[in-house]
Symmetry: C3
Subunit: 467 residues, 3 copies
């Protein structure tokens, strides 16, 4: 711990919180009790993990703000919706953490008081691992007894020059993909490190809102009043993004969505209805408009040679009184058969597909096994926990061509989270490779590592054309 931080440390416990000289964790699996696993198997998994953890990777889906990519206090860290929503679920009032003008330190205090019930969760383990790796924290729990020292020290560290670059380097991240609103100016950052991706949720699902149409007109200079002008506006967006190194188009989709082509006349009628009635337009018109925009986006992905990330299955706002970003859930009764027409219509567009529910994963495996343009992508949100990753990953690794799997993305909002989230994934990947390939199928360790490297690193670079 730095001397400055020690001096300001608000409590004496600080001395025991940090490892001597911020000794970097060796980083692999947490220390294993010697009798819990044979040394032999432990070392197989560990060796594979170590090989994978040494790779410099690209994170192909995040929500990073490139103008403020890293955290400045623990409030940025604990403000991640996983912590706020879990703490709220376990008893913390939403108002307590969404109070206007709440100082970051107080926000952290309130959250820390409610972290106890979350200590079992994998999300809590991300927090602890991050604190250890980036801030030399040495404890097992962030608690009311120790948080202040951690807060202070972390703030000091985060305030150092080039903190974001330090995080990227320590996390071995070559680049992180962004999720940019369609009217993002895409300026003020290095697009080789913070790589633009065009997020299209608003265009597809909220075009009925006047403000979305205004944003579109401002961004493109085109008043989209019918199918033709809307198409022109969309083309303009793609051109803008292309100028700024865009690598993908992306969208999240509700379980009910089943894309279909909408003819020009129907599209014109739908857009006219949106202009006339906004979000009060008839449901069939809203649906026609959404499908017209979606299909037009797919056409532009084809014409601009961009992968179209489909993140399938989320219902927005299910828990209306939930915390910010903690209101969405899903109906797992969704099928990729809903995308049959799309996959057939766009053989030259690559669709990296994420599914929200693990029960949809087998369909994803099968569709990626049959359709050349469908590839598996990451472990999303409610399926991003070890038990589901393990089940889903094992199924993918044994039946989807190895070139068609994007292993993982962090989905993070602040850079500090890539490290613990990717590590979680790499541990599961090492486990599956060790148990199901080396042990069950007699593969050599080298071959298993090569497969891991493929899905963790190489495919991401090739699929998205990141050199």
């Amino acid at each position: 711990m730095g001397l400055a931080a020690m001096t300001r440390s608000p409590n004496a416990l600080a001395k025991t919180l940090y490892a001597p000289e911020h000794a970097a964790d060796t980083g692999i699996l947490r220390p294993l009790t010697p009798d819990s696993l044979t040394p032999a198997r432990m070392s197989l998994r560990e060796r594979i993990y170590a090989e994978l953890d040494a790779l410099a990777i690209v994170d192909p889906h995040t929500h990073i703000n490139p103008l403020a990519p890293a955290s400045t206090t623990l409030a940025d860290v604990l403000g991640y919706h996983y912590y706020t929503e879990l703490a709220h679920s376990a008893g913390l009032a939403r108002e307590a953490i969404e109070e206007p003008e709440l100082p970051p330190r107080e926000k952290v205090r309130r959250l820390v008081e409610h972290l106890g019930p979350l200590e079992n969760t994998i999300q809590y383990s991300w927090l602890i691992e991050m604190l250890r790796e980036f801030f030399g924290f040495y404890g097992e729990r962030l608690s009311v007894d120790n948080w202040e020292a951690v807060y202070e020290h972390a703030a000091d560290v985060m305030a150092r020059p080039h903190w974001a670059e330090t995080v990227l380097e320590k996390s071995k991240l070559r680049a992180v993909f962004l999720t940019n609103e369609f009217d993002d100016p895409l300026s003020g950052f290095d697009t080789n490190v913070y790589v633009p991706c065009l997020r299209t949720d608003d265009l597809v699902f909220h075009l009925a809102k006047p403000e979305v149409r205004s944003r579109l007109e401002r961004a493109t200079g085109i008043a989209a009043t019918n199918a033709a002008t809307l198409r022109q506006a969309i083309a303009k967006l793609f051109e803008h993004f292309r100028k700024h190194n865009v690598r993908a188009c992306a969208i999240s989709l509700p379980p009910s969505f089943a894309p279909r082509q909408v003819g020009g006349a129907a599209a014109d009628a739908a857009i006219a209805a949106l202009l006339a009635k906004g979000i009060d337009a008839d449901a069939p018109r809203l649906d026609d408009a959404a499908n017209f925009v979606f299909w037009t986006l797919a056409e532009h992905c084809r014409d601009f040679a961009l992968p179209f990330d489909l993140m399938i299955g989320v219902n927005r706002g299910v828990y209306a009184a939930g915390v910010y970003q903690g209101r969405d859930l899903y109906d797992s009764r969704v099928s990729l058969i809903q995308y049959r027409e799309l996959f057939n219509a766009f053989p030259r567009v690559t669709f990296p597909i994420s599914v929200l529910a693990s029960v949809t994963n087998q369909e994803l495996v099968s569709y990626a096994w049959i359709f050349p343009n469908v590839i598996t992508s990451g472990h999303w949100w409610y399926s991003n926990t070890p038990a589901y990753i393990e089940h889903d990953l094992a199924a993918r690794l044994e039946a989807v061509p190895e070139t068609k799997q994007i292993g993982y993305y962090s989905d993070m909002y602040k850079l500090e989270f890539a490290l613990p989230k990717f590590r979680m994934y790499k541990r599961v990947l090492a486990k599956v490779l060790a148990e199901r390939f080396v042990v069950d199928r007699g593969w050599s360790e080298e071959r298993a590592v090569a497969l891991g490297r493929r899905v963790l690193m190489e495919n991401t670079e090739r699929v998205f054309g990141y050199a």
Copy 2:
């Protein structure tokens, strides 16, 4: 084996059936062949199991009759629907075991003849473990060659004074929750040991039947002829149950059910239709009535501060020619999104949720992670087998706050089943804690045991207010 029993033993094999002096099994995992697992891992799992098995627990959902809680012969044991339905499924005619006036001994004889095909099932293992623990049985199989001695001896043991208390003590059960019909007088037993819960299936789904309405009127003194009087009657039921230490309201629900609030006028119309036409009332009226009652129950759970156990997903009577209690199955295409309106409308009611199909478990995990009033509850019926428990439990333990998980309930009809059913659960729990927390996440054994204690014991007491 007691001398008296030996004397009456109908065959000489009895001598080999029982351990010397009824030596209690050490109880843990069955003896492991030395080469099947390293001693090291074996002892980790075993040590965690032993800690969990030492806890005195509350069983928060059973179908125990408090006036006859324990078995009197093996016919009570083998009459459990798991054995009758599995034996029937494997070839035993329903008539053979549902013959009127069939003496218990003959019923057991007929069942034992058909147990062979069931020996692989986990349900059969419950039987053998129970026979070992309670009756000193020492065999691996209950067969035509040995059942008579076991029958006799078990009958002797069950006839001893305070047998039910003996079972409770040996099973380390502090209390078992009941499932009481709404018109149960709730008298004649200690409600601190046999804790009333109000079962509401009949009120919600069978109010169209005249006998159910008659029972309601007799129980409450109120003729429920419209929404207002029906609400009064329901309030009366809650008051009656509150006087008798009620700890929960409970219901099992078909996959199609999607609760919604029904206005007073619609409710009046629905009840009028029920009174006029009974079960021949139009389906929309029946559905309105069911929803009105259900919503009114939720309101009373709120007002009486009772958790509302929802057991979601069963279709009744699918196999019409099946044995008693062996006719129900399900359609796994159900989603918790159907409960969206309910969960939002009753933030102060705790909903312990059981789902019938493992494919619904991830939704349960996610909804419990987001909604403060949703908690996970046990492993129900067709999902109450080790492979599904392991998959579902692992997912819960890593993403639902640890305070929001009711680990297990036995669902038993006779007290003797809590021991083998809870042990099955505890073995899986110990396995998951050992492999996924101690090994995969580097937790200490103590911390893993503490998490196990939380979900197995502490949460049940806190959620249901059992001191």
Copy 3:
């Protein structure tokens, strides 16, 4: 490697491709790295595997052509849809392998060039294991550098006298069940080895096509112009098949299918519509016809005492531009509740059920646990990979009576595939028996093996009456 083959070998690498004297692989698990698994557990799994692998078995579902049961070149092997569709999915143009008059050697060359991305798949492991076992191949990969020598040598071996019998013997297959079109003459082969099964997809789902009706008339001599004559024609088919040792009736069904009885008048109307309009008949008429035929088939299964294999869940032609047999996918939103009426109506017909999606497996377990006439059957197509087999098999073994499980069938088109596919299954079976029965439940190894023998061999013989 035979001298002749060596002489003709197109490249010098051949010398290193084959083991000395075609040394048969010991066949068990691929060699395990000593530190990947403790010798103790390795030997438990291996011992169980060895016992299971020694059994002579019947393969109860294949697509073997009894007049050309084995392969003649590697084109037959690599022409299996798993390789063509996976290679196509990974980038190989359909036209490249479906070119008319393409010589087999050139087809293999083109496929081998695209096998690289498939090396992770379990299907690729079938290929390598087959090459090792049947053709003494000693490599890890079939590549552009070595395929020619393998091609030549395999062609030589396949050309030897009695190659099919050699494959059967080496694969320890007593018999393979066929999938015969309804108008198959069933002559020219030994029906005790190549056992007829009546495939009924065309009758149920394609009777609207004039060519199907023509085939039916030619096969039976009956013009099926109404319900009565259609029933007569179907009876004639069953009689023909019975004369030739038929052991089952079989059909694959789309997720939307929900069988129901159709009355005579409705059936007459439906058939009249088919005769008048063919496939342009109204959808309800087509559906009535399909259901009438299906129900009539079930009646004949009852009358002829034949099991009715239902393979539930496939959507045909989802990827229209896919390779031959590589166009089908599915919608996993299917439930066995759709078969409720059928299962209740035919208590004396045994229904071996295969489900396409693993998420339907729990329903299958539950329905087989309750309905005496429902049994579990194999691991089909998209669920026929180790991760899904392991999950699904474990669930079956612990809750379905052991007499009601058909463990596995190969579904193969050429005899060489039974060996690697059954071995994959036996490895998973050995793993589940070792881990979940011997370790978790304390079973003896002998008892575990006996359970494995039951599901792998004995049940198949008993259920289908194969002596």
